[in-house]
């Protein structure tokens, strides 16, 4: 089954589109969720959830799946997958500290939903009324690409026709201390769609998913996917730890140099940035890597430019 990316949403400081993402050299102004979503209903939602909702709104709009805020497709056939490692770490740590200082009397019940790490995925489902499988991926450095992989798996297994895949990470005092530096405070989102479904509704195709793998070594993953890809890989996206294992003659991108710690958002932002690149230059498939040889695993994915109009979509 061929799988297309038919929607992209970007929610990073100073970047609200794939073009802005591809051109960015440094972060700009923080994302303001209320300016995108309106203030209503945001008050008790944590930063990560708000960022996820912004990315979700943008990606569903880009994919042509929202009309006047209403979903235009079968809501039971849309899956939601969110990748975030740090999403609710601040709520959890802050609540534990308050208990130590004041007992549970000092707590606000409004924090209760945010104590569960899947709050981002469930709030996206609630806002856009998405009843398909709802999955929160908290899988360390590889998490964003893993979420794309599981989104594709839900389509291939027939459990969904579209999968909204979101990767976001919030910035705050607590997570800065945990990861040892500033966090991106944003992320990106994709709509993955079965090729036949995308074609039937005349969706715009941004890219096509190629092979994926997950293994212990970045170089092995590259060799495996390059061998399985019909066209030669023309570039790669990888964080500093993995970049050293990839061919230097290809055009390489390390998004963490621009955005700081992307953690669970990395793989999804890589997809969005690669698509931004497809728009501005002709070229072939690119290799994406999240997680390096020193991590618990490395995930890899090939993204291909959208098939040209003359090429028939064999499903």
């Amino acid at each position: 089954m061929r799988i297309f990316i038919t929607g992209v949403g970007v929610a990073l400081p100073g970047a609200d589109s794939t073009a802005a993402l591809a051109a960015a050299r440094q972060p700009g102004e923080p994302v303001e969720p209320a300016a995108v979503l309106g203030k209503k209903g945001l008050r008790y939602k944590d930063r990560a959830t708000q960022l996820g909702l912004v990315a979700g709104q943008r990606v569903l709009t880009d994919a042509g799946l929202l009309s006047d805020g209403e979903l235009t497709t079968d809501s039971t056939r849309v899956a939601v997958l969110v990748s975030s490692n740090l999403g609710n770490v601040d709520t959890v740590c802050r609540v534990a500290r308050t208990i130590a200082d004041e007992g549970t009397r000092g707590l606000s019940p409004m924090d209760t939903p945010n104590a569960s790490s899947n709050i981002i995925a469930s709030e996206i489902a609630i806002r856009f009324k998405l009843h398909g499988p709802n999955l929160m991926v908290c899988n360390g450095p590889t998490s964003g690409l893993d979420a794309v992989r599981w989104g594709a798996a839900l389509l291939r297994s027939g459990r969904a026709d579209q999968a909204v895949v979101v990767g976001v990470e919030p910035d705050n005092e607590i997570v800065r201390e945990l990861v040892g530096g500033p966090v991106a405070d944003g992320g990106a989102a994709l709509v993955l769609e079965r090729a036949d479904v995308a074609e039937a509704r005349g969706a715009t195709v941004h890219a096509e998913l190629g092979g994926h793998t997950r293994g212990a070594r970045v170089a092995d993953n590259f060799a495996q996917l390059a061998a399985g890809e019909p066209d030669a890989l023309v570039g790669w996206f990888a964080p500093g730890t993995a970049a050293g294992s990839l061919p230097s003659e290809l055009s390489g991108h390390d998004l963490t140099e621009t955005w700081g710690e992307l953690s669970g958002a990395l793989g999804v932002v890589q997809c969005a940035a690669a698509i931004g690149g497809f728009g501005s230059r002709t070229g072939g498939p690119v290799f994406l890597a999240a997680g390096g040889d020193d991590d618990d695993g490395s995930a890899a994915l090939v993204l291909r430019p959208a098939p040209t109009a003359s090429e028939p979509v064999a499903v």
Partner: protein
């Protein structure tokens, strides 16, 4: 779909492995006790279903959830004859609270902890040499949701065998936020009882080895076969459940399994003992089963294990496999007066029942309105 389950593992407050847990359940022996890791003076409630593994009472330590997971995965892998080198096998872990308890201790007390320990891949790689591991944080339906993903992987031919696990250790934040709104903490967890006062959390982990049905295998024993898993999302409320999508998850599980409600011999309830869960769960079940609602025997493990969050669904499934192997069904202890919605159900009460089980339905529902229902059959 008939995926062989060839090894099981589990750890909970009432036992260090699946056999011990089942023995306790059949004997009606629960694990509720004075809480050992949190300061009693800070809470209304002071009793939990904890695994007693702390060096001394009143002092907590990091990485307990990780330890439970490694234990359960190790048991399942050994039982299935996979050994300690799991580099060829994907390991999928469902959890509600990841290693967030350690993050709490790190922030509050300054004990060492790193971001790479929040998910379980790091420890799994150290112990078992794995490279394809996944931590899904899907609240209280996490391990059954994860089971569906593992089954799909096998169906798509992406692996010959997968290890699916669930784990949770209680966080102070989750317990504390519940305690905040319960001035009178529930004295017991009483699934389906009219006088149920809410849930009580527990520590736990469970693991199963799941194989492709079309490839011959050796090692381990055939515990049963996974027929199908349904999964839905309410998309309605962050914490309250919704009958419509719970019912849909049950229907979906039967569609995947190719079974009918009248085929089911045993229902393992999610049964958290909160007023709303039990009401919605019983109503959704009766909605789907209709006149067949009285066919299966109905029980649940939480009155004795506590609500073990993300591990709960898979732990229930392991217990269902043991009822198939032994013909013994553990009772719902503490159930004195069932709610109206459960009238006409064959509830197993007070003591273990004898019942031959060929097909079992297992429920797991969670915060965020995420629902998963699994159907397993006897070997």
């Amino acid at each position: 779909m008939r995926l062989p389950i060839t090894g099981v593992g589990a750890v909970a407050s009432i036992g260090r492995d699946a056999d011990e847990i089942f023995e306790s359940l059949c004997a009606g022996r629960g694990g509720l006790g004075p809480m050992r890791g949190f300061d009693h003076d800070l809470y209304n409630g002071t009793r939990l279903f904890e695994i007693d593994d702390r060096p001394e009472s009143g002092r907590d330590r990091t990485m307990r959830a990780t330890g439970f997971l490694l234990e359960a995965v190790g048991q399942a892998a050994e039982a299935a004859g996979l050994g300690e080198d799991l580099s060829d096998y994907p390991v999928l872990v469902g959890t509600g609270l990841r290693e967030l308890r350690s993050a709490e201790l790190w922030w509050r007390d300054g004990v060492p902890f790193g971001a790479e320990q929040l998910h379980f891949g790091t420890a799994l790689r150290e112990r078992f040499g794995t490279a394809d591991t996944h931590t899904f944080s899907n609240a209280c339906s996490a391990s059954l949701y994860t089971l569906a993903l593992g089954a799909d992987m096998l169906a798509l031919g992406e692996a010959d065998a997968v290890i699916v696990a669930g784990v949770d250790s209680i966080t102070e934040s989750m317990f504390g936020l519940a305690d905040r709104v319960q001035p009178e903490p529930p004295p017991a967890l009483r699934t389906l009882d009219v006088n149920r006062k809410g849930t009580i959390l527990g520590d736990g982990a469970a693991a199963v080895v799941l194989r492709r049905e079309d490839i011959p295998w050796s090692g381990g024993r055939l515990w049963g076969r996974l027929r199908g898993v349904g999964m839905t999302c309410d998309a309605k409320h962050p914490t309250a459940p919704d009958q419509e999508q719970v019912a849909e998850a049950i229907r979906q599980a039967h569609r995947h399994a190719g079974t009918r409600p009248s085929d089911i011999d045993l229902l393992m309830l999610h049964g958290t003992g909160t007023p709303l869960n039990d009401l919605v769960e019983a109503s959704a079940y009766v909605e789907v089963f209709g006149e067949d609602a009285g066919v299966p025997v109905v029980t649940g493990i939480k009155p004795m294990t506590g609500h073990t969050s993300g591990s709960a669904g898979l732990l229930s499934l392991v217990v269902a496999l043991q009822t198939m192997a032994t013909g013994k069904v553990p009772p719902l202890i503490g159930l004195e007066e069932p709610i109206e919605q459960a009238a006409g159900l064959r509830l197993v009460r007070d003591e273990e029942a004898k019942h031959q089980v060929s097909l079992a339905q297992v429920h797991g529902f969670g915060f965020g309105g995420i629902n998963a229902v699994a159907i397993v059959e006897a070997p």
